[in-house]
Assembly symmetry: C2
Homo-oligomer: 117 residues x 2
């Protein structure tokens, strides 16, 4: 029987999305590698993707930095399970704080332009 | 009788908002001085504010750069009238291209957090 993910959570610091500034959100989203991480997470079940499984065009240290920025901006929730750090896109929370912003990121490149409101 | 603004337009290059990338939009909006310019424009009639009338905490050269970035990102339309460069926030066009994004900028700081969708 699989052990519940929450049982293995270490003390990872997570931002309260309501406390995240627009500046922090824009800074986090301004990097194309970080946006690609979010799009990959959006396509998979919560806490199913470990940080090490993303094929990113950056060094391991830089990748770690990107994940930390996304966590600090309230965009990712992470839990450690054994040696793996699993990710969840905090879509409902982030959508509530910054309506529409994450949708722009997730639909980027999917079509010539996002559907009009 | 006031001369129509359009009669005095010089060859200022304006981006087609549909051609603006999310990267360019996020880069343009990631600067707090540029966001403050947009908020000021939003509160006034189109083409009523000259670039020189904004009280910005930066040098004149840096301010000119900020206006150029906003124009290139499809956020400002500018016309030259005599010695003044007048601005219009391209809200409908930008909203159509990036729904919700400009609203986040214009409501920044206006309340603890934007209204939920």
């Amino acid at each position: 029987m699989a052990e519940p993910v929450a049982r293995r959570v270490r003390n990872l610091v997570h931002a309260d999305p309501e406390e995240v500034s627009l500046q922090a959100a824009l800074d986090a989203l301004s990097d194309p590698v970080r946006r690609s991480i979010l799009r990959e997470c959006a396509g998979e079940p919560d806490f199913s993707r470990a940080c090490g499984t993303f094929d990113l065009p950056v060094s391991k240290a830089t990748a770690s930095h990107h994940f930390a920025v996304l966590r600090a901006a309230g965009l990712l929730e992470q839990v450690d399970k054994g040696s793996r750090r699993l990710n969840r896109l905090r879509r409902p929370e982030f959508d509530a704080r910054f309506p529409g912003l994450l949708t722009l990121v997730l639909t980027e490149g999917a079509q010539p332009r996002p559907p009009q409101a």
